[in-house]
Subunit: 128 residues, 2 copies
Amino acid sequence: MSYALILLAHGSSDSRWRAPFEQFRDALVPRLDTPIRLAYMELCDPSLEDSVAQLASAGITQIEVLPLFFAAGRHLRNDVPAQIEQIAHGHEGLDITLLAPVGEHPDFIAALATAVADQVGESLHSQR
Amino acid sequence: MSYALILLAHGSSDSRWRAPFEQFRDALVPRLDTPIRLAYMELCDPSLEDSVAQLASAGITQIEVLPLFFAAGRHLRNDVPAQIEQIAHGHEGLDITLLAPVGEHPDFIAALATAVADQVGESLHSQR
């Protein structure tokens, strides 16, 4: 079984919007011994569909999709599962799993709180 | 000068969407010695406008708005600055500053990469 991870971001019509996701992917790649792709739900390339097709043609048989979202709303509860179901239809034998969004992970909440407290604390300190 | 921090999330029609943001606020409050409010750009209460009004009536004169967004697209480059300009008109002497989104902060990128690498690494380990 050959595994890959897809980081799924929302997508935006503003091309500058992609930079933090690309930086995050670049920070993650050296930390994990597995193929990693960045894909977008809408409005940006590459799409989830194209990314899955590319991985499948490279022999990947198991894909986990990690949403780079703070929370699960309509997109992650309805739109993305429907997208994945449709994509899976076109790739027999490929296992695609949608993970919980990073924002629901307790480590993420704690890491974010520490990063923000440091940032805002410094800003407050420099103003006083 | 009396300062407060507003954490600004996007908002969703799905009420379950709010939980990670509330958890994050609750994790941040004990780390910072300053009033902290959570507000939503759209679709959820409390709105940014109501949160600013509440803080202003409590004597706050300086507010920083920290977007809990991964990246700045149309919302943070156009919609939210327009919202803030309009809100500021109604509160003379109140200083409201929009900060960069948390996703653009280098500490955030690193913290997220560590949290995700741990999570996905554990998942991979348990599958092998």
